[in-house]
Symmetry: C2
Subunit: 340 residues, 2 copies
DNA sequence: CCGAGTTGATAATACGTATTATCAGCGAGG
DNA sequence: CCTCGCTGATAATACGTATTATCAACTCGG
C-alpha cells in the first residue's frame, strides 16, 4: 500500500538514504564517492523493486521533472475537433519520446463555460517542468499571468505578446496567404475578396495581413458571421470578385457547394482558395485549393522550443514560424474573359 | 524572483506559518481555533499578494498525486491505429476529468522491437498513483510483475490471471459472439464456421468460446493465417458453410469482397458476421453485420475501477465485462433453400 | 606510532505545506 | 494562591528527495 521510498531501498541495500539518492542521480563528483559494489547493490535493489523517484518530492528540491505538461483549452480527445488536435498531439508525443519526457495532460482543470482555465482554485501546473498550450484561442490574461509568474510555456500557434514575449510555434499564415493571392494573380485574377472574420485571433490577423500584402492593399472583405453561404456568394458575384480567399475550411466548402447548386462554375466563374486544408479531407467530392498547416511539425517544435527554454532561459528566438505547404486542388483556375 | 511562500505571508501578517495553512484550508475543528480578526488579517495579506499554495508541496503531504498513468504498448497518437485507441482515450479522459485527476502518458518508455515495455531500466511508473494499460496484447510477464509489486493497475480488455487476478475492463465477446450465432440459427442457418485465429489472445479465446456455445460445440474453424481471402472462401463454400463468423473486421471485409468478385451472393449464398465493427466504417460500401465494442465505455470504466482500487484495495469485482451492441448490417440473411 | 591524506558512507538539512502536540495567557472557582 | 478549563497561537514534525557537512576507517610516508 505505501509507496516505495528511498528509505526502503536503503534498508534493503543496507545503506543510507543519501547513498540511494547519490546512486540514482549518478553523481560522480570528487566529493561524493561510492564504492562500485555498493552502487551495484543499490542498483540491483532498485531494479528488483522497480522503484522510481517520486516526481513530486523531486520537484520540491530540484527544478526539473522530465514531465512536460499539455494544457488543452478544449478536451484532449474530443469527437468533433479530433482532426484538429490529433496531428499536434502526434508531434508532441514524438518529440517528448525522443527527449525521454513523459506527458502530463491536465485533465484535472475544471471545464467552465465549455473551456478550461489554467488558473483555477488549485492548479497543478507546477507539477510539470513546463507546459504546452493548445487551443483555438487562448485568453490573453492567462498568457500574461504565465509570463508574470515566470512559468515556462510554449503556445502552439502564433500569439501576440502578453505582458512580455509569448513563446510560440506558429504557421506562417501571412506568407502562405499572400502566396495564394499571388498565384491567382499570375493566372489573371484581379478582383479578390477575403471571406471570414479576418480579425479577432492572431491566426485571422495574419491571414488578413497576408491577403492585404498580396492585393497590395486592395481587395474586398466579406464577413461570414450571421450570413448564409448563398448570401456571401451573391455579394461576391455582385462585386465582380473572381477569387475568394476563404479563412475557414468549412466556410470554403459551404461556399463551393452553394456555387455548384446555383450553377456557378468553380473555378470558371469563381475561384476559391482555402487558408487551411485538413490533412484528410472528409468531403472527398471537393478538392479545394489552398495550403496545409504543418500541425505535426508544430507540435514537435513546440516541445523542442520548450526544452530549449528549460535548458537556457535566455533563448533568443522565442517565436518560430513554419511554412505551410501549397495544396494543388481544383478550385483555382483562370478567370473567364468576359468577367475580368 | 523567488516564489512566495506561506512563510512570507506569515511574516507579513505577523503570525506563524501554521496559522496561514490553517486559514488557507479553512479548518474550523474544535482543536484548531483562530481568532476572527487574525483570520481576516491573513486573508487580507493573501489577497494583496495574490498568493497561491504550491501544488507540488501540497501533493507532497497528501500521499496521492491525483495522477493516473496511461501506458500504451504502441504509441499513443499513432496514425494507423488511431481508430483503435481514440475511443478508449476519450473515455479515459472524461472519467479522469470527473475525478479531478491528471493523466500521465508514459512517453518516456523506450520503444524496443516496435513496442514499449513497462519495466525498463528506470521506469517511472510510480509517478502515477495507478496505471491504465492499453494495448492489443500485453505481455504476461509484465502483468505478473505488476501484481507481484502490488502496483495498482487496470488493463483495458479482458486478461487472464497472471500471478494473481488481473483487474480489467473488457467487452463480453463470448456472449456477443454467441448471440450472433443464435441470431443466424433463428434465420435457419445450421452450418457455421469461425474464421480467424480463435486463440492466442484472450479476446480470440472468448470469441471462440462464444462461437462454440452458440453452435453447441459444432461448427468449423477456418484459420486465415497464410491464406488469401479467396482460399478461405473456397474452403467455406466447399464445406457447405452458410454463416461465417469472422474474428477480424479487416478479414471480414476481405471475405465479403472476395465473394462479390466471384459472384457469390452475400448474404444469399453466404452470411458473414463480424465480431467487432468499427464505430465509423471506412469502407462505406460494405455494411457488415456484427457487434460494436463499447470502447469509450471501457475506457471510462477502467479509470473508475482504478479509482476504486486506489480507495479500497479490497475491491471485490476486479473484472468487469461490458455488453457489446448488435449492429444490424446487410450481410446476414436467410440461407438459400437449396443449400441448407 | 603518529599525522596527513584518501576513501566511502552517513547525519543533517532544505524544499513548502499540513497536521499534531504543546504552550502561554487568562478568567473563574475553590 | 493554586488549579482547572478554555482560548488562541506556535513549535515540531512528516511527506520524499537532493545536497552539504561531517565522520569513521584505512593507507602511507616518515
Amino acid at each position: 500500500m505505501p509507496r516505495i521510498t528511498q528509505r526502503d531501498i536503503a534498508r534493503l541495500a543496507g545503506v543510507s538514504q543519501a547513498v540511494v539518492s547519490l546512486v540514482l542521480n549518478n553523481r560522480t563528483d570528487a566529493t561524493t564517492r561510492i564504492a562500485p559494489e555498493t552502487r551495484q547493490r543499490v542498483l540491483d535493489v532498485i531494479r528488483e523493486t522497480g522503484y522510481a523517484a517520486d516526481p513530486v518530492a523531486r520537484r520540491m528540491v530540484r527544478q526539473l521533472n522530465q514531465i512536460i505538461g499539455v494544457f488543452t483549452y478544449e478536451s484532449v480527445f474530443p469527437s468533433t475537433s479530433a482532426d484538429f488536435y490529433y496531428p499536434f498531439l502526434r508531434g508532441i508525443e514524438e518529440c517528448a519520446e525522443q527527449l525521454r519526457c513523459d506527458l502530463l495532460l491536465f485533465t484535472s482543470a475544471p471545464v467552465t463555460d465549455g473551456r478550461r482555465k489554467v488558473f483555477h482554485e488549485n492548479n497543478r501546473l507546477r507539477i510539470a517542468d513546463g507546459c504546452i498550450l493548445l487551443g483555438r484561442d487562448i485568453p490573453h490574461d492567462e498568457l500574461a499571468r504565465l509570463n508574470r509568474e515566470n512559468y515556462p510555456f510554449v503556445a502552439v500557434g502564433r500569439r501576440d505578446d502578453a505582458g512580455g514575449p509569448v513563446p510560440c510555434v506558429g504557421a506562417d499564415y501571412a506568407a502562405a496567404t499572400r502566396k495564394l493571392v499571388e498565384r491567382a494573380r499570375e493566372l489573371g485574377h484581379r478582383e479578390f475578396a477575403y471571406v471570414g472574420a479576418g480579425e479577432g485571433a492572431e491566426s485571422a490577423d495574419d491571414r488578413m495581413s497576408g491577403f492585404r500584402a498580396g492585393t497590395r492593399g486592395g481587395g474586398r472583405h466579406e464577413r461570414t458571421a450571421g450570413r448564409s453561404a448563398g448570401e456571401t456568394l451573391d455579394a461576391l458575384l455582385a462585386a465582380g470578385v473572381t477569387t475568394a480567399v476563404v479563412e475557414g475550411y468549412a466556410d470554403g466548402v459551404a461556399l463551393i457547394r452553394a456555387a455548384r447548386e446555383r450553377g456557378v462554375d468553380v473555378p470558371g466563374d469563381l475561384s476559391v482558395v482555402v487558408t487551411g486544408v485538413p490533412a484528410e479531407s472528409a468531403d472527398a467530392d471537393i478538392a479545394s485549393t489552398g495550403f496545409r498547416i504543418p500541425r505535426r511539425e508544430m507540435g514537435w517544435q513546440s516541445v523542442e522550443l520548450l526544452a530549449a527554454l528549460l535548458e537556457d532561459r535566455s533563448t533568443t528566438t522565442l517565436k518560430r514560424l513554419l511554412p505551410c505547404h501549397f495544396v494543388e486542388g481544383q478550385t483555382l483556375g483562370e478567370p473567364r474573359r468576359d468577367r475580368s
